[in-house]
């Protein structure tokens, strides 16, 4: 084809003035924006779709990959599932709820978000939305969704308010004891049982205990099962710290007694390092959340396949594992609260939870699923989860809990570092640091107001 045959469009023949360029540019922009609006995927609520937002966590995989689809199959309600990392999701959910944007219907939350989200009106009362609670759900897990809390210390503003359900537990994550069967012929019951075996170990070939020692939340998760089992409290009913007395000091001294039998760098251990020694077969016991259950039997990450058993965390006076449930709330600006309620009722029903336990060995929230013989035969940890949930102790229910945890968690880490360095005077070290943390927490709560 010769160039002569190519006709120049009329538009291109005309000389373009500045105004023409602006006019045509504007027209083009408007057209593009219009096309983008028309063509962009939009959520339609006419079909009753719901949108769930969540943080990324391996424990959520069955929920995300299997149950969400099952719900759509059974009910015809489409589910949009968006997930991001923990910190970002916390901020997104909060902003969405405060501004009632309606981008989400259900927030998957960490249970310690409940006080802030409920008191701040970020999530709606499930009681008011008419959600029917399955009576098979373990009470301790269910209580995590109440605001104000049913038991324990309450903030002054909510002292006489009737507890309402603002969030519903979907995974009963709780601390349990993992122990090596070669070293414990029977499930250890007390800290003394653990210590007796630890004393026989020869580090670094084999450690008698492994723990999370990093400041803040990690070391708190190590200390709380000890504190609770020794009869102490994070805070008492009147918000006074309950860990600086003999119970708290005894619990911390017990932790220090494991120092000769723990890896030397334990003060900088988080979950990865703590569990690595157990997966390598170099540790007799540790306490950890249920996320570890599948990894201990996975040959690609574990040298102790089928050699680790699970039970409730050890007791002294009583069992006292920390509980950290995955919990769902319905967004204040939800555009489809009915669909959201339907989803939560469906997922926490005994039938769905049974599937969760039988198919995935997940930390189900119903008693029948955790004690189901078929599920237990396949997943030996389920009874331990049930026992741990039933004896669990919740952390203080207040939006200021993370700060309180940071203060005590920093003091515990400092105490552990000092105890490892000194290798003696454990009692005095424990007293000094716990007392300092107690004073700091009291003064912080006074400054915040609403407690005393």
């Amino acid at each position: 084809m010769s160039d002569k045959n190519v006709k120049t469009p009329k538009l291109l023949k005309q000389p373009l003035g500045r105004r023409d360029v602006i006019k045509r540019g504007l027209a083009g922009t408007v057209a593009l924006a219009g096309a983008a609006t028309v063509l962009s995927p939009r959520r339609s609520y006419a079909s009753g779709a719901i949108t769930i937002g969540s943080f990324q966590d391996n424990a959520m995989a069955p929920f995300r990959d299997y149950f969400v689809k099952e719900f759509t199959k059974e009910t015809g309600i489409a589910v949009n599932y968006n997930e991001t990392n923990y910190d970002t999701w916390y901020q997104n959910a909060k902003n969405d709820g405060i501004n009632k944007t309606g981008a989400y219907d259900i927030y998957v939350m960490d249970d310690n978000w409940v006080p802030e989200f409920a008191a701040g009106g970020i999530v709606q009362s499930l009681d008011k939305l008419g959600l029917k609670v399955n009576s098979d759900i373990l009470p301790k897990g269910l209580e995590m969704g109440l605001w104000p809390p049913k038991s324990g210390a309450r903030m002054k503003d909510f002292a006489s308010a009737k507890p309402e359900l603002y969030s519903l537990v979907i995974i009963d994550d709780v601390e349990i004891l993992y122990y090596h069967k070669d070293h414990f012929p029977h499930a250890p019951q007390t800290w003394d049982d653990i210590y007796a075996v630890a004393k026989k170990t020869e580090p670094p070939k084999m450690y008698g205990w492994s723990a999370r020692g990093v400041k803040g939340n990690p070391i708190m998760m190590t200390y709380l099962p000890l504190l609770n089992s020794y009869g102490g409290n994070f805070v008492n009913e009147d918000w006074s710290p309950g860990f600086a007395g003999p119970e708290g000091v005894g619990a911390l001294t017990r932790l220090f007694s494991f120092i000769p039998y723990m890896p030397s760098g334990v003060a900088s251990f988080d979950t990865a390092e703590e569990t690595q020694v157990m997966l390598e077969g170099k540790c007799t016991a540790l306490t950890e959340y249920t996320g570890l259950v599948n990894r201990v039997d996975d040959p690609s990450s574990s040298k102790v396949v089928h050699k680790i058993n699970m039970t409730a965390t050890p007791k002294q006076e009583k069992h006292g594992p920390a509980i950290g449930t995955f919990i769902c709330g319905i967004a204040s600006g939800s555009k489809n609260p009915e669909g959201a309620v339907q989803f939560l009722e469906w997922f926490t029903s005994s039938k769905t939870q049974m599937q969760f336990a039988r198919r995935f060995g997940g930390a189900a929230v119903t008693g029948s699923a955790l004690s189901d013989p078929e599920a237990v035969k396949k997943y030996r940890w389920l009874p331990a989860i049930a026992e741990a949930v039933n004896s669990s102790v919740q952390k203080p229910r207040t939006p200021d809990e993370p700060k309180m945890e940071d203060i005590l968690g920093t003091a515990l880490n400092e105490a552990l570092v000092e105890a490892i360095a000194q290798k003696e005077n454990y009692d005095a070290i424990a007293k000094k640091h716990l007392q300092a943390a107690a004073e700091q927490i009291s003064s912080y709560l006074k400054q915040q107001g609403g407690y005393f």
């Binding site: 910190d87 916390y90 901020q91 909060k94 405060i98 006080p115 802030e116 008191a119 701040g120 009106g121 970020i122 020692g213 990093v214 400041k215 803040g216 890896p263 030397s264 760098g265 334990v266 003060a267 900088s268 990865a272 390092e273 690595q276 020694v277 939006p399 200021d400 993370p402 700060k403 940071d406 920093t410 880490n413 400092e414 570092v417 490892i420 360095a421 400054q447």
Partner: protein, 305 residues
């Protein structure tokens, strides 16, 4: 041409001049609006938030300077300030000396010079979070290589991240590893653009290499060094990623810099007002530092002239 026509013509010329003068500003406007949206607005909102109290994540109203009073009485904040200053002083000093030495070493004819330069700046190109993960794996006592290496040499087990002093030193080491290349690059650029005549004249006059360096090169490099140090100081004051991955500010508060404490205060403890008061104070401190640095640079340039 009548007087009226002349006036009209003059007005037209004036209007055209005004239009022409306005063009650069109009062209800059979109960029300035974008900058204002992503930079100025958060800063203004941060300043506003520093004067408000937050409860249950919601703005509970104006509280005046209470947040600033609270940070004044917050012992942890002052600890973080002290740690930040110590971190900046030690890390930036080491980086400056090392960067200078490396630049002097490389600013000459060497074989494989290109390869050496690229290798030297590699750490700077890695994302800080990744740097944190790499060093956490190196330091982690049961899976890293630092501890086995020490044991092999019969030096015991350092457990770098488990002790306050070694964790701080470990953090400085990471910062030095990552950011010495930046100072090296800036100084190298300074060395390569340095006038050679005074140096050659000094050599001809019999000055030794050390004398040439201390009496000629170093004074000529002073403005460049100052730029490098100021840039690194501002950057080091906001160090966050590596600490978040490596130590979370621990053991205890040994590596808790202001950036980490502010982040925790805002996003973990939900006290935006308190956190913003800290960030505004840090901003004021850095602004003062910059003003002082610019003043010093001017003076140093004047002295050189």
């Amino acid at each position: 041409m009548t007087a009226a026509t002349k006036t009209i013509e003059q007005r037209k010329i004036k209007a055209r001049r005004v239009r022409l003068a306005a063009v650069p500003y109009l062209l800059l406007l979109p960029a300035m609006l974008a900058m204002a949206a992503v930079s100025l607005y958060p800063m203004i909102d941060g300043a506003r938030a520093s004067l408000h109290k937050y409860r249950y994540g919601i703005d509970a109203g104006y509280t005046g300077v209470e947040n600033f009073r609270n940070i004044y009485n917050d012992a942890v904040f002052w600890q973080a300030v002290e740690t930040t200053i110590r971190f900046i002083l030690i890390a930036v000093s080491i980086e400056t000396v090392l960067g200078l030495l490396l630049a002097l070493l490389v600013a000459r004819e060497l074989r494989f010079l290109g390869l050496i330069r690229v290798t030297l700046i590699l750490p700077m190109t890695i994302a800080p979070v990744v740097v944190g993960v790499i060093w956490r794996l190196l330091y982690a006592s049961n899976i890293g290589i630092i501890d086995p290496l020490f044991r092999l040499l019969g030096l015991g087990t350092p457990d770098v991240l488990a002790h306050p002093t070694s964790a701080f030193v470990g953090l400085v080491a990471v910062d030095v590893w990552e950011w010495t290349p930046l100072i090296f690059l800036i100084i190298l650029a300074g060395l390569e653009s340095m006038p050679q005549d005074p140096l050659e004249a000094a050599r001809v006059d019999g000055a030794s290499a050390l004398q040439v360096f201390f009496h000629h090169k170093l004074p000529l490099l002073r403005p460049v060094l100052l730029v490098a140090v100021v840039l690194r100081t501002i950057d080091a004051a906001g160090t966050f990623d590596q600490i978040f991955v490596l130590t979370k500010g621990g053991p205890g508060t040994a590596t808790q810099l202001i950036a980490i404490y502010s982040y925790n205060t805002a996003f973990l403890f939900n006290q935006y007002g308190h956190a913003m008061a800290m960030m505004i104070s840090l901003l004021a401190f850095l602004l003062l530092l910059m003003v002082a640095a610019v003043h010093l640079m001017r003076r140093s340039s004047e002295l050189l002239e």
